[in-house]
Amino acid sequence: MDFLFSYIALAEVYVLLGLSTNLLVGIAGIFSVSQAAVFGVGAYIVAQCLMTETMGFVPAMLVASLACIALNVLVTLPSLRVSGDYFVVTSFGIQLLATAVFINWTQGTGGANGLPGIPPPDLFGFALESNLHLVMLTTVAVALGCLAFRLIMRAPFGRLLRAIREDELAVAAAGKGVLQAKVSAAALAGAFAGSAGGLYATFLSFIDPVSFDLDASILLLTMVVVGGARTLAGSIIGPFLLLALPQVLTFIDIPTTIAASARQLIYGVLLIAFMLFRPQGLAGEKL
């Protein structure tokens, strides 16, 4: 039972990340391999706030979200100034830079060894320690995230983002601010990724740089690609399927030394296969 709970809670954290990545990549059409970095910033901030007892869980989540909003907006800005391809460079750069910070800034992040012993989340003075409570927390968070995503997609803002993905120039000619819309999408993606980070840190009570590196970003992209762009269903299916993959791999007898590479290899194959044969993913719209 505990195993199932932790699978669900983890998958739910990744659903939030999937929504975040979907907003950027699927909806606004901004290529990103740095969402794991933003996720990591959220995780480290919440971890530090709780470990140093600076503040409680809820304000820490707020701080993390705000920081990640700022970070994502900052990261996205160069892409708005110049051609889209340059953003690939920005995105890779931010991811590698963040990994360097996570590994080398030992004081703040515990370096490569990570941060152990992160206290459980507390809500209004009540510590959530059992896995059941934690699952309830992540479920509520994901439900809120999904609701927000749905409201956005149905509102004029969602329509504007879809239009921007198709033709930025035509949107500008219709008198709409492309820049503001993209920055808003990036900010929203930052808020989602930041809160996912906070949930992740408190749920696992241990974080290290490996969870937030380039491979993790590729995993996030794979989730959106497999699930499908621009739909709620796609953002939910992707994480649940891909997080089950390591469990499936344990049934096949793969030496533990290459298990990580095998997993990443499968992500790569999935990315290529879906782009070639099913760009709409399992339950989404065409990328």
């Binding site: 004029p156 198709e166 000619a173």
Partner: protein
């Protein structure tokens, strides 16, 4: 001297070594249909790009209702009441006809994420009224029964009408239409000419790039003849079309 409705003065645009517009000056009068003609490469689309803020001229300026448009973004220029179509349409093909119009409606509730998330009922209510508005616009151009169709399923003629609907939705008073009649069948041609005249009668001002001399003769109040990025002649359609020197440039240079 009274100020012109739209006034371009001494506009110059260079692309590398190429002079796309040179000392280009003209005026457009309020409430009239002005046609912009000239051989390919005369700079007709370039002048559209300058007026709508997609291109910064190297020299010269454009003023609308006495106010300079220099340095304004395309977004700000639409807000002053000028909107354009594109020669290659640039519709949002994966959206419905209705959504294409809705995108262009100004100042909507829920157009930014905070409103969309935190005031869902307000947004939904406003959306309902906005849909009525958009449907009315579609009806105006004769596309009401195609509102929920995806753009890619519309005929070319219907797509052209939709570009006009999208421009109307912005609420602009001065409409810049880039070849609204090209590539249309005879029937669709009559339809779009009737629509343009109707828009004029409703008080809109139209600046139209057009190749078809028959269309120009039928709809234009005033013709601007552009050649090699310079305004060569201006006058009534009859006087421009009957000028043998201009015909030589137009037909001799076109092919």
């Amino acid at each position: 001297m009274s100020t012109a409705y739209l006034q371009a003065s001494g506009v110059e645009v260079r692309f590398g070594g190429l002079l796309a517009l040179r000392d280009c000056s003209f005026t457009v009068d309020r409430g009239r249909i002005t046609c912009l003609v000239g051989p390919n490469g005369a700079g007709k689309t370039t002048i559209f790009n300058v007026i709508t803020g997609f291109l910064k001229p190297n020299e010269g300026s454009v003023a609308f209702q006495g106010k300079s448009l220099d340095g304004l973004t395309p977004q700000a220029i639409v807000a002053t009441g000028i909107a354009r179509t594109f020669q290659n349409l640039r519709l949002f093909v994966d959206l419905s006809a209705l959504d294409n119009v809705l995108v262009a409606l100004p100042a909507q509730a829920g157009e930014e994420p905070i409103g969309a998330i935190f005031r869902p009922w307000h947004v939904a209510g406003a959306q309902k009224r906005r849909r009525e508005e958009a449907l009315a616009t579609l009806e105006h151009v004769g596309l009401a029964d195609r509102a929920h169709e995806f753009v890619r399923n519309l005929s070319y003629g219907e797509q052209k009408l939709l570009t006009v609907a999208r421009v109307l939705a912005t609420g602009a008073e001065l409409l810049l239409l880039d070849e609204p009649a090209s590539g249309l069948s005879a029937g669709a041609l009559e339809g779009i000419m009737a629509l343009l005249r109707r828009l004029q009668s409703e008080g809109k001002t139209l600046l139209v790039v057009e190749h078809n001399t028959r269309v120009v003769q039928q709809i234009a109040d005033e013709v601007l003849f552009l050649h090699q990025g310079h305004l060569m002649a201006t006058g009534s359609p009859a006087s421009i079309i009957s000028d043998p020197a201009l015909a030589e440039i137009y037909f001799g240079g076109a092919i």
